[in-house]
Symmetry: D3
Subunit: 248 residues, 6 copies
């Protein structure tokens, strides 16, 4: 891997500065304002005791997610989906990805008949909004589960979280595999991949797309290597953020 | 007016702490994250050179606004309007109010054929989201106009702003007129009024509603007095915030 | 106040001719075809025994309203909202205003678990459609309540109406406060205000908007004076219309 | 045909009282408030000089129609289609029928590049709303064409109307063919047919439906005979109504 | 009737080649891929035990239908209605026609509390898609009823089908009545009529429209004669197709 | 890899029978009815000379795709998206995937200013509908390009296709990697992956999802190996099908 710096001075295998403001919202049962560089996403977790009617009586819970972007999160203002009256394909796709990713680390029996809705609202976008959403939503989810346990909605010994989960993008830019693409990099990437990984290093989701040239097996492997490294770092950051006050 | 303190310790004529983070967004031409206590609204101003086709060729600009609330801005999560596929009456009404209020202080000839869209997204709601939106949107608008002038889209000597504008809520709670109602006060108010005022103390909009008992002329006058005082303070805060870097 | 006549020969403080055809519809439990000059609104009240599920079991009723304009009520034909697939902001806003205004004079305990829907359909528009709607809807509502009492859905001694309600527009046209603006006046008004008042002269709603120049306290007071006078007259007309057959 | 009277005392071959208030609307270029008994439809014709872009330059005009029912036109209130966000199949079907029927008597070359929109809004419904709509829309259309000619949008010698058009329902009720079904009859009819006929007695549209038992050729013929008679009467009424002031 | 051949070599009273592939779909309880010449419609019948809540407890079933066209069934691709977000008037109208036509031959008491949905999806369109849909849907319906009887949802001796049903188009092309119009003929027809007939030769629906000149009684009679003949043939084909395996 | 047979008797690395009926539709410029076992998708390619306005003047073409399922393609009938008035997330996601996959093998400069819309309508679904769609759409696209060249819309020497493209699903079922999952296998798979590959064996898209347990690097590699083999076979089939008549 080359050591040449990127536009923002990073090496190819370097994450942008990651910050997680846990408990940003006073209203939600769990919340996190996460930044991957200039990308900022407000993740809230809404805990409801009970499940949708079609799931009732099975002793299992449910987790779902919604993703959205403020109209001026991007450099050019886009129309609100509420104004257009329909949700676009991209929004749907990312909402589903976030939901699947978080559900993969939840034990629904242990969660009991409770529902958690994760809202990921992009306040500012500079690439990697879906990966930041997944990574931040995990922190919000963890806090909402603590909230639910404290109020007796979740059993004292139940372990609803089987693992942690984070996500990062990787891509091939000018022939070189790179970690955590910022918007300018993403728009020039030949291949773009989002990789969702558990804290223990297993894959939940691998989504790679050739934007320009198709990619070969070797390139795929190099990207997966990078993504595993990046997610290792993110899992560490999540652990550190969640450790605060956990003993109390 | 009684001196009895309110739930948050304020006197009847006291505003909640107001903060305005100017330039919060890197993407927008103007932006402000405004707080009225726990109410937090991200206001962005998007400047576009040119006007909608039906206005072209008249040498005049246009200003419009959109208001929205994140689903978990409130204590109970509400469905996204984009998911429901339609914008609710309340959202429409507030968007229109913000637009009218800001247009009232803009000289469209001086603005020239430029369009500014003000997006007010409520990140956290605790009463007064529409008044915070108007007050914050003015700051975002002012900065977007500076941006437009610097790039030559607005004439050097043009004065697109005729005045400043701010807004505050007032209401009668347990028989007593109060300024800047927080959510718990608002939900118990017998009468609720939103008053939009220029920096020079004239009315742009007066919207008073009897939620419980109808109100008489005397009560109306007391509420208007309070609202004028509150807006005087807000105009001062706006002036202070906008003074920073204005000389440079 | 000047004595100069207006386009239609009225003095500034004069209402247009008001007519109310009570019981216009054979189908509705209450109805009124109301005219403010050339503005004509068909108001119907639909009485349903029972309330929406979320209100059941509280012994209280509900009143709601919907406003709409026929596509060719105006001088230029506008597209139907049903065809556009969404209700516009203005329609929403007025529907909500009518609903709030009528609810303000209803005692929901006395109404019992009954629901009344007020439909205000503008057949011809010449300014003041929302004020005519409120004024006419009151007559339709009163008749629907009589209907409900006759069928035993409302208790014999229950008094669901706490007061009457009417509404009128006022505005400043060429510097002069005027009552009940016709369309040509409304479109030129610097300030436009709709005032909803009970029969006993208290305010239910005050909505004043500066269309051109902001207005000061003195102008606001002059407009409120006019509006109170106009509503006094409307309350008289409503009383007269409803007196017919009331003894029988 | 039996001489037994119907619920409202009519003979099988008798129309309900038909009234046409021509020029009911001050705003529209042509208008008629038509009644077939208790069925009342407000028909307006909106004349626009010019045609939709896809028709421009061919020297031909266009006529289109929209049908709608006020929510409380019927005995039970139905939801507004604008509120539901979509137009129902029945509304679409009738709008298309009205449009086709009126276009069948218009010479588009003679009309020139002008567009006429016919709005038929049912204020009160008691069966036969679509046939009343067609019959009333013809009167509104005729007046709009006069308006267009007077303003020079239609050539002085052009004859845009090739014929008149009216419509009536017929049906088999308890085995007997009947003309102009009221709602109670319509809901019990075994067969229901709407027949649109020109003033010269030719068919524009025949729509017969077996609601209960299928019908045979003989019954079909009896219904067509009745319908032709009914339309003859309607054509007379239209002629009389339109004669007023035509010489002037 | 002239013996002159049509574009595809048919005589005026000749159907296009009709084929019915019964049981085309492995998933549906009944299905038929029907062709009228190049028009191909996939008809499926979905059998559900039970009825919508508003019908429950009456011991009666229900049959409904939905019609749709693939976007490239026609010569020019049309937008999908799902993408446009609303179903067009034509689609609604045809879906309703198919539903009414099939219901006319069903005895809902004998069907019992079961629901059948008929989906008619046009894979390729060359005129007559609605008549092919009705004719094919009957075959799918018949098979779904067999399926329901075999599983005990329909009583052993119950006869839910009172008759068979088929449909054909007729029209006047260059002055001559013709059977089963292909697209090129349909688009030039002066009069276009769809006739739905039972196997025993009675009318369920007659829908005739003058596209060009209005038509007289004689032409109407000639068209009905042709349509009855065509439907006689279709009923034969249906009978033959359904006879296969019926004994087994 | 185990040699144990699957429910349908296949070995883990065996495709279901694949058939491609080229030119199924008479209307479309290119078409293919493709089957992967009981999964049947009708793919049509609509060729339009010209591009959307925002692309005009750049000398480049565009390819887009829409995917949909007939309501009774599946074992239980699902509501039509056109009836629901909105396209679901899954449909959006697959439409976008098909579009991206096909665009990856097109040289837009060589295509010239032409637009091709690929419609993939699932007539019968038994797993693998998106992979069958991509594989069949390629054949339809190839034929549409021949059509465009024959009519001179594409240059004689232009090579708009850079490669072929096909897709196949792979998954881990009861611990074992398997190729081309049928519906019953897919619904039990722990991991599900769709792999889009060029004829020359490079990746265009890799989408792997852990439905149950997260998967490790070794499992990922085994799945990719299988997918490459399956796509090699599909590319052969495409080549054979397209060879017919290609010399003529």
């Amino acid at each position: 891997m080359s050591d040449e710096l990127r536009a923002d001075g990073r090496t190819p295998a370097q994450l942008r500065p990651v910050t997680i403001e846990r408990g940003w919202s006073k209203q939600a049962e769990g919340s996190a304002l996460i930044s991957f560089g200039d990308t900022r996403v407000l993740c809230t977790a809404s805990f409801t005791n009970g499940v949708p009617r079609w799931m009732a009586g099975q002793g299992k819970g449910w987790v779902t997610a919604e993703y959205s972007m403020l109209p001026r999160a991007t450099n050019d203002r886009s129309d609100r989906e509420a104004v257009k009256g329909r949700i676009g394909g991209r929004t749907h796709e990312i909402s589903r990805l976030i939901g699947r990713s978080l559900r993969a680390v939840v034990d629904f029996k242990a969660l009991g008949e409770n529902t958690i809705v994760l809202d990921c609202d992009v306040l500012q976008a500079d690439g990697g909004t879906r990966t930041a959403s997944i990574t931040g939503a995990y922190v919000a989810l963890a806090d909402a589960l603590v909230w639910g346990r404290e109020r007796g909605f979740i059993g004292k010994k139940a372990q609803p979280l089987k693992d942690s989960v984070s996500a990062i993008s990787v891509g091939i830019v000018r022939g070189e595999p790179m970690l955590d693409l910022a918007y300018v990099e993403d728009s020039r990437a030949e291949t773009d991949m989002n990789v969702v990984v558990t804290g223990s290093g297993k894959f939940i989701e691998v989504q790679g797309t050739a934007e320009g040239e198709p990619f070969d097996r070797e390139e795929l492997n190099a990207l997966l290597d990078l993504a595993l490294l990046g997610n290792l770092e993110l899992a560490d950051i999540q652990r550190t953020v969640l450790a605060v006050g956990a003993e109390g």
